[in-house]
Assembly symmetry: C2
């Protein structure tokens, strides 16, 4: 593994008998190079196996063509969202710098932001869902001082932030309406932790769907779980006590729905004859649960893609503006809510 120095632009220049500049022009596809010179340079590049150092380029240009991605357990948004992010970034020519944020205290956020900015990321994707006040730092001067664009995934609209999110409200409504259309009369709801924005939006959707049909929405027709299968099981038992006439239940994620299926079976309830269950997409295997689970599907890769597109758009805009004239100082706010959710109907 002997370290052969990578050839630099000067090596190429020397070999091709031109200046570094000309080489630079060639690798940047500048039109202002004669064909003859270009060929000559390209030949030298090929001969030496030259590759431009991105580090040097980043350094001299002051930008890195890389995006910071801040996540927690990589899992909150599921793998599929990350795939969307990764693919889109690749497509647009950006690299991803991944950071895990253990918790959302300022003590954690500040150093992690600095780590990203010290590496000169061109923009940041904040891939941590909104849970209680974990986005409170947005109202801090810490946020205002961030010199690069940020896009947030799945948080409530915020005046200062760019947000890309699914409309969980609509998803919740859809789920509930589906149950109503199936002729169910008594629709309970097992929510996720209500300090999650996603969970509370789904709950609002459930409520709205019931209200649309003039049904009462009683507090004890709803029990809160913690997303885990075990909590779904427990929640279902409590819910059934509160609401014995319940003939359908909308569960805020698939894992809890799994617990519900188990609990219902233990109670001797037949599904779907005695009880209809609908989940909310976070597992791909829902259709193979026993019995199969109807669920609300979200196109998660699309969410990730949209986030990156939005971010890169802002980045390019920024570098454009900076180059031309620094007139555009109004805050750029994109609030993109993806309304499309698909109901996966299982016969």
């Amino acid at each position: 593994m002997q370290q052969v120095k990578r050839p630099s632009i000067s090596d190429v220049a020397k070999l091709a008998n031109v200046s570094k500049q000309t080489v630079s022009r060639v690798i940047n596809e500048s039109p202002n190079v004669s064909d003859k010179t270009r060929q000559c340079v390209l030949q030298a590049i090929a001969d030496l196996g030259f590759r431009r150092s991105e580090v040097a380029r980043s350094f001299s240009q002051g930008r890195t063509y890389s995006l910071g991605v801040v996540g927690r357990n990589l899992i909150y948004f599921g793998t599929s969202t990350y795939i969307g992010i990764a693919r889109q970034a690749e497509t647009l020519g950006y690299s991803l710098l991944l950071k895990e944020l253990p918790d959302s205290s300022i003590d954690q956020i500040e150093p992690m932001l600095h780590a990203l900015l010290d590496r000169q990321v061109d923009g940041i994707v904040w891939a941590i869902p909104e849970i209680s006040d974990n986005h409170a730092w947005l109202d801090t001067e810490l946020f205002d001082q961030i010199p690069v664009p940020i896009v947030f995934l799945s948080m409530a609209p915020h005046p200062k932030a760019s947000v890309v999110a699914y409309d969980n409200f609509v998803g919740g409504m859809q789920a509930t309406q589906h149950l109503l259309e199936c002729g169910r009369q008594h629709i309970g709801h097992i929510t996720g932790p209500l300090d999650w924005w996603d969970a509370s939006e789904r709950r609002r959707g459930w409520e709205a769907a019931l209200q649309q049909t003039g049904r009462p929405v009683l507090p004890n027709h709803m029990v809160t779980g913690n997303w885990d299968a075990a909590s779904g099981e427990a929640a279902f038992h409590r819910l059934l006590e509160n609401y014995p006439e319940m003939d359908a239940v909308f569960v805020s994620n698939d894992k809890m729905a799994l617990g519900v299926l188990l609990a219902a079976h233990d109670k001797g309830l037949r599904i779907p004859e005695d009880l209809a269950v609908i989940g909310f997409d976070d597992i791909t295997e829902s259709a193979y649960f026993h019995p199969p689970l109807t669920t609300v599907l979200q196109n998660k890769p699309a969410l990730g893609q949209l986030a990156v597109k939005t971010l890169v758009h802002k980045i390019e805009e920024k570098f454009q503006t900076e180059t031309q004239t620094a007139l555009d100082s109004e805050p750029l706010v994109h609030q993109l809510i993806v309304r499309k959710t698909t109901l996966m109907r299982v016969p």
Copy 2:
């Protein structure tokens, strides 16, 4: 968002009335600075809010303190492995540069390696499992030319490569032995795609466990699936035809096991009375399947951690060596197989 230039080391030097070098010494915690000077510099740093540019540092030092992670769908090793990687990298002060590799043709691999090396990653984690000949490029000069250490996850031992892997063979044996200990006599196996190293190792384990007890291992006591739940379902039907007296089945992953549970139920088989099923860990929810699934657990974060530890060890070694003397040219090969798997027994 007006761009205030980040203060540089020179700004600090000017303010503190010292040379850039001294500032550099302070931020690098060199002992060769008087307390008085140090205080003065630290004060200036604080006043200016100075942070060292990692890009400039990378550029000048020729190393970036970042690791390239090459994965496919982020999913092959599951989130948990990634968590292990991310945490350990953070702990050791390295950043992660993530790359998705759509397929393993040389046409894909070469540019992606270049992308990583152009950004001067200090090392690479190859987080794509071995499937048929997708590691064939290791025997190519492409591999030999990579100037940084690489660690491979989950591949068969290879003379030129550092590998960190679980012992799927032992896992498969454990699963099978567990069924035998439960008194089962006829143990079928649903394998993953056999061109996956992991799948074929698990199959070998099944075979070995049966042979140990003097049982015959017939080819039609085994059916191959494709990891998906649907394939597990189909495979089970075929297997049951081939092997009607089967009273237990070892399924090579949990998703397929899910399909088996469904299929068994459709056949009117009671679990575990008529049929014992054991899976192999890739879902956290297995215990909530209906009925609950016994599975072989692997400590996946540990695998990721180990990979990063190994890699960073080699990196530091390399930079040491380079600095001191370049005598150490023997290939450094670590083959680490983690033998520990835990059986998750569900009552």
